[in-house]
């Protein structure tokens, strides 16, 4: 193992280039080319964290399949829920998987990708070198957020996609049955699933924004992700307090499950529209705060 470097190469190095941009930049430097999405994806995709998370989303449907194969049905005498219909076919299995994942798993996935992306760079000290490269701060946030959201969305699509395949393999390809008693041909069920995934993507956006803000604020990735998940749990708990009345409708998780409206014969958009608007409002405010803070922040990590 060599223990020292060498400066032979520097012997032949040319002098400083005289070519500079009007902004004083080195030749070939454009701020709009810094931290390209491909680069950021490479940075994130090589991480164990990313691989494990996405891997878990692939494994989860099979775990559920195993659980259903082991367990026995005990829902007699009650109106069926999605869980009771889960084994009736690919579409129903997918719906149940999404339902089971909505409350916590997807929240964690969204919080993880968005909360960890800046905070982990800070904890590795690599953030300061990116900023000095220089990647303009707003650009860094934008690229990181876009990639984090991209991974989140990929996870959100991956889970139902794998669930659909797993459900089809183990439970067949029967048309979807809804707890309301209707059935949907697979084509229609897939359209509804797309609507559900689309809604969830928008409704969970605030989780990303919250985690992102915390990740910009702190240098501890765990603090950002955990903090965001914690706040979502708090929101869920408050939402369970019916005494709060209409105040609950401003809780960001109040409309988490509004996508179940997409399973009615005629989709009711009222709740989903509120969920999307609420999430978008929170997202706007939280992201504005994240930008505002990061653009002014003294990076000392």
């Amino acid at each position: 193992m060599p223990t020292r470097g060498s400066h032979e190469g520097l012997e032949h190095a040319a002098g400083p280039s005289a070519e500079h941009g009007p902004d004083g930049s080195a030749a070939g430097y454009r701020w709009s080319a810094t931290l390209g999405l491909g680069v950021e994806i490479r940075r994130q995709l090589t991480r164990r964290r990313t691989q494990l998370t996405l891997g878990f989303l692939v494994v989860l449907p099979f775990l559920l399949v195993a659980a259903f194969e082991l367990g026995s049905d005990s829902s007699h005498g009650r109106a069926p829920g999605l869980v009771d219909l889960a084994t009736s076919g690919a579409a129903n299995f997918t719906l149940f998987t999404v339902f089971a994942a909505t409350g916590f798993l997807l929240v964690v996935v969204f919080a993880l990708f968005a909360g960890d992306t800046v905070a982990s760079e800070a904890s590795w000290s690599s953030l300061r070198y990116l900023l000095a490269a220089p990647v303009p701060r707003g650009r860094l946030l934008r690229q990181k957020l876009v990639v984090a959201l991209g991974f989140s969305l990929f996870g959100l699509v991956l889970l139902p996609a794998v669930a659909y395949l797993a459900g089809g393999l183990f439970f067949g390809w029967a048309p979807a049955r809804t707890p309301l008693g209707g059935t949907m041909p697979n084509g229609q069920a897939l359209v509804r699933l797309l609507i559900i995934v689309g809604y969830l993507a928008l409704a969970l956006l605030f989780v990303s924004a919250l985690a992102f803000l915390l990740g910009v604020w702190t240098d501890a990735p765990l603090g950002a992700v955990g903090g965001a998940v914690l706040l979502v749990i708090v929101s869920n708990i408050l939402d369970a307090v019916t005494a709060l009345g209409d105040w609950r409708t401003v809780l960001p998780t109040h409309y988490s499950y509004a996508w179940t409206d997409a399973l009615a014969p005629a989709i009711s958009w009222d709740q989903m529209a509120r969920g999307v608007l609420l999430s978008a409002t929170y997202t706007t405010v939280l992201l504005a705060l994240a930008w505002w803070h990061f653009l002014r922040k003294d990076v000392v990590s």
Binding site: P22, D23, V135, T284
Partner: protein, 973 residues
């Protein structure tokens, strides 16, 4: 269940109109206190002449009197105690509330006359008189209190009949009650004449002649009230000790006794006992007085005429003129055109006793008088169903606030329906109900007719038989548990008894292309021929899913009794049960005609019927356009959406403006373009007040290797961070090649940096780290000079290992290599030799010298003097955040030549040396002197010391820069 603290019943105060028997003040947990007064109210005597007084309670609010009054009436089998929580709630909201136990129940005296005008209704008017005498009650005139009346079921009919006979009543809220008790107990769903458009969604104009005796419900309704146990089962325990008769825990429905009147009555007074009764009817039959027995003793607390009439019907299954007249006397239908009090009318969808058609008839009749009517079809009813107590309570309160308090609150007159299984519960995704509303009920509170659609039916003629004795009979519903039964059959665990083989004719629609929101009664015309002159049939409409599973909504059936049939048969138009249901696309509707239903009296003789579709075989389905109430619609969201859009635009605009302002302030200074680094008046105070750098100015020229020297905490790192744009200066500025350094300034692309340790992705290799870093700059790979950088790092094959496996020194060298990527014009290195071993340090020194030799500039910070002295061409000494000296290293070293002199007597030596010209700063140390000698040769100093007889051990120059540094720092300190 509300268990009252015992209050003594006064006995000697009957001389007064009202006897005050006990007063209790209950302080509510929240809101103002409520005063409670137990009353004994004398009312009209029984036909036998026996005096009757009623058990009543007056609740008065703490303040705000005189206030409007509300009279609450309980359900059948109940008492005033089930109304307690409603009464308190209303009193807390500023109403004087009077509750009382009706004649024949609880500890009130008298017999049950079934809301007869001469008894129960007269009693209620007596209660209004009482309110008129109370000073706490707001009056509209002499003897005319401002009063609203609310009640459910038995109390609901009382409410309607009172409003029809007492003009002092100002608003009413009857719930789940009957319109025509004859139709309720002898339902006839065959429609007179041909089927026209329905007047209202649940309109039913029965054909002449009574229908089919509702045997099971009537049994529940009539028989148990006479038995002693009923008072206990009514859900409230009176103060007289009837608690002793309550055995075991109360039925769950009793807990719902809090509902504003209607649900209370239903819950405790009727549904509760009904469930209980159906479970042990034999037991109570044995202990109580059996139906077959005659004489007043067997009638319990029923008035003898009511009792006798019922027993006759129960025996034959067909009505007598006496009972029909008796039931008519107790029917709001008789006086409906006299009701002018604004009416909030709630009817239950899960109600086989008083179905929606009863409420619809009441609403239509009252609205025809020009009286304001709001109709609510709620998800509950006598069969159970949903518990919407809270919603009904707030609707009632809003109604009274508007019409009694007249406080200007707008009143909602929309027609509300509860659609069961219209959405999925967010908790468990099981079907959940949704409340929807239409501007008004067509034909009632908004103009008719009801919009309908017709669905063609198919099915060949079918012959069905009615078994002798009516057994076996289909089981569609059990009183009080009909809805639960329906839920069972949907889940596939049903009894399968709603259609007995050979007893049912079925006809189906085609699979629906689009979903239907059914609100109300469908209609169909059938052709019926019979082997007997009369026919008893039960018509049902199933919702059949694509997989064949069928649901009978709310387990409701339409009993039809036909007379005067001939073997040729005739067309009969039948109104199907009014339901609220979303029928999904792909489903079918199935019409089933059954010959039996065990809840009804059935013909004893066997017969056969031939059922076929009429010439126009179609089902007319009512569709009322409704919107989800809780959903709130989408139009409300427009302001929100626009506001959000505005917010987004404002945030974007704010960011753009701020960005442009920054750009303008950062105009380059071309005259400084040749200077790699110019710092002017730089200062940095952190948020916590700590000043890291103050008033620092320096200029660095190309080709320099500038040493930034200072002890730890001198502000070197902070300065470098500011030069990298990581930290904003508090004052002053940093310019690199004339461009001001701001976070992310483009000119930083000409700066390579290493500050406070390396920063790499631990999970990728050293090489990949350098590649990723260069890729992040967005510059062409060809400019990276990766080879040279790798050479500087000197990691060999280790560049392919993950960085997390590297030693500190390896990371350090990799970080310096990263700083050199692209051979930046200015290299900022913070303590680059930390963690390197001596050979590496030496190599690093060469690297930096070579680097500067290319015409580039290096700024190195260090706290090691030797390093700066050996590496740098220029030095800046910092201490406490300030610049204390700067200049070429040689100059700084030369300017401060000190001598260390070791002698045996330092004190005397200092004296001698101090007299020499050019001697300065003479200091005595432990072993000798330290002094500066300017302009005087050292030999002269030695000679002077020796001549003074001192022993000189050593004379040596002290390390130059260290001396200067300590001297400078010492001055500062």
């Amino acid at each position: 269940m509300v268990r009252r603290r015992t209050a003594l019943i006064g006995t000697g105060a009957l001389a007064a109109v009202v006897a005050v028997t006990g007063t209790a003040v209950a302080v509510s947990r929240s809101g103002p206190a409520v005063h409670e007064q137990m009353l004994r109210v004398p009312v009209g005597a029984e036909p036998s002449g026996a005096a009757v007084s009623l058990d009543a309670t007056l609740y008065t609010p703490d303040s705000r009197t005189p206030a409007p009054a509300v009279l609450l009436a309980h359900g059948f089998g109940g008492s005033k105690y089930e109304l307690d929580s409603d009464a308190r709630d209303l009193a807390r909201r500023g109403y004087v509330v009077l509750t009382y136990t009706a004649r024949g129940f609880g500890v009130s005296g008298g017999d049950i006359h079934l809301d007869a005008p001469g008894y129960e209704i007269a009693d209620a008017r007596r209660m209004v008189d009482l309110l008129a005498d109370r000073p706490e009650v707001l009056k509209d005139g002499q003897g005319d209190p401002r009063v609203g009346v609310a009640g459910g079921s038995y109390g609901g009919a009382l409410t309607l009949l009172l409003a029809a006979t007492d003009p002092r009543v100002d608003a009413i809220a009857p719930q789940i009650t009957w319109n025509d008790l004859r139709q309720a107990l002898f339902p006839q769903f065959a429609v007179a004449g041909a089927a026209g458009p329905p007047a209202s969604p649940a309109a039913l104009t029965p054909a002449d002649g009574p229908g089919v005796f509702k045997r099971m419900w009537a049994g529940v309704f009539f028989s148990p009230s006479g038995s002693p146990a009923v008072a206990g089962l009514s859900g409230s325990v009176g103060p007289t000790g009837s608690a002793a008769t309550v055995s075991g825990t109360p039925v769950p429905a009793v807990d719902r006794s809090g509902g504003v009147t209607g649900s209370a009555a239903r819950g405790s007074g009727e549904t509760g006992p009904a469930i209980d009764r159906s479970g042990n009817s034999t037991a109570s039959g044995a202990t109580g007085s059996g139906l077959g027995a005659t004489g007043p003793a067997s009638c319990g607390r029923f008035a003898p005429d009511v009792c006798a009439a019922y027993q006759q019907v129960a025996t034959t299954g067909r009505p007598t003129p006496q009972i029909l007249d008796l039931l008519w006397q107790s029917s709001p239908a008789r006086l409906i055109d006299r009701i002018h009090a604004p009416t909030l009318l709630a009817q239950g969808e899960a109600d086989s006793l008083f179905p929606l058609s009863e409420g619809d008839a009441n609403a239509r009749g009252i609205a025809a008088n020009g009286t304001p009517v709001k109709v609510v079809w709620e998800g509950g009813g006598h069969d159970g169903g949903l518990d919407e107590t809270d919603r009904l309570r707030s609707l009632t309160l809003a109604w009274f606030d508007h019409y009694l308090k007249r406080d200007g609150t707008p009143v909602d007159t929309r027609f509300e329906v509860t659609v069961p299984s219209a959405a999925l519960s967010a908790q468990d995704t099981r079907p959940a109900a949704v409340v929807r509303a239409a501007p008004g009920e067509p034909g009632v509170s908004s103009p008719g007719p009801v919009p309908t659609t017709t669905l063609p039916l198919t099915g060949r003629p079918q012959v069905i038989s009615a078994p002798a004795g009516g057994s076996p009979a289909a089981v569609t519903s059990l009183p009080g548990v009909g809805a639960q039964l329906s839920a069972l059959s949907r889940s596939g665990a049903g009894l399968g008894l709603s259609a007995m083989p050979g007893q049912v004719a079925t006809f189906q629609t085609a699979s629906l292309g689009t979903g239907l929101g059914v609100v109300g009664s469908s209609r169909v015309t059938l052709h019926v021929a019979a082997s007997a002159p009369d026919a008893t049939l039960f018509v049902q409409l199933y919702d059949v899913a694509a997989d064949g599973s069928a649901v009978l909504p709310m387990a409701l059936v339409s009993p039809v009794h036909l007379d005067g049939l001939t073997p040729a048969g005739r067309d009969v138009t039948v109104t199907l049960p009014a339901v609220v249901r979303d029928v999904a696309a792909g489903h079918r509707l199935r019409l089933a005609v059954s010959t039996t239903d065990q809840a009804y009296a059935l013909p004893a003789d066997p017969r056969t019927y031939r059922i076929s579709l009429a010439d126009d075989p179609a089902l007319t389905v009512p569709l009322v356009a409704t919107t989800t109430l809780a959903g709130g619609g989408l139009s409300d969201l427009l302001p929100w959406a626009l506001g959000l859009l505005g917010l987004v635009l404002a945030v974007g605009a704010g960011a753009a403006v701020a960005g442009r302002r920054r750009q303008r302030a950062d105009a380059p200074e071309p005259e400084l373009a040749e200077f790699p680094l110019v710092i002017r008046g730089l200062g940095k105070a952190y948020g916590d007040g700590f000043r890291a750098v103050s008033d620092l100015s320096l200029t660095v020229r190309p080709g320099w290797v500038l040493g930034l020297l200072g002890p730890n905490g001198a502000g070197k790192t902070t300065t470098l961070r500011m030069a990298m744009g990581l930290i904003r200066p508090s004052e002053g500025e940093i310019r690199v090649f004339g461009h001001r350094v701001t976070p992310g300034a483009a000119v930083l692309s000409r700066v390579g940096s290493f500050v406070e340790g390396p920063g790499f992705l631990p999970h990728v290799s050293g090489l990949e780290n350098l590649r990723l870093f260069w890729a992040a700059t967005g510059r062409p790979a060809g400019q990276a000079h990766l080879e040279e950088a790798l050479e500087v790092a000197g990691l060999g094959e280790d560049v392919h290992r993950r960085v997390k496996t590297y030693s500190q020194g390896m990371r350090q060298r990799l970080a310096i290599a990263q700083a050199m990527l692209g051979l930046p014009d200015l290299l900022l290195l913070d303590e680059p030799t930390n963690g390197l071993d001596p050979p590496q340090i030496r190599e690093m020194r060469d690297v930096l010298a070579r680097y500067a030799a290319t015409g580039r500039t290096v700024v190195v910070s260090s706290h090691l003097l030797a390093e700066v002295e050996q590496t740098c061409s220029h030095v800046v000494v910092m201490h406490g955040g300030r610049l204390v000296a700067q200049g070429p290293v040689a100059e700084l070293v030369g300017a401060a030549t000190s001598l260390v002199v070791d002698v045996d007597d330092p004190v005397r030596a200092a004296d001698v040396a101090g007299k020499l010209p050019g001697a300065r700063q003479v200091e005595i140390t432990g072993t000798g002197l330290v002094l500066q000698l300017v302009g005087t040769p050292r030999s002269q100093l030695v000679r002077a010391l020796v001549e003074a007889g001192l022993q000189v051990d050593r004379v040596a120059p002290r390390h130059g820069l260290e001396e200067a540094f300590l001297a400078l720092v010492g001055q500062e300190g």
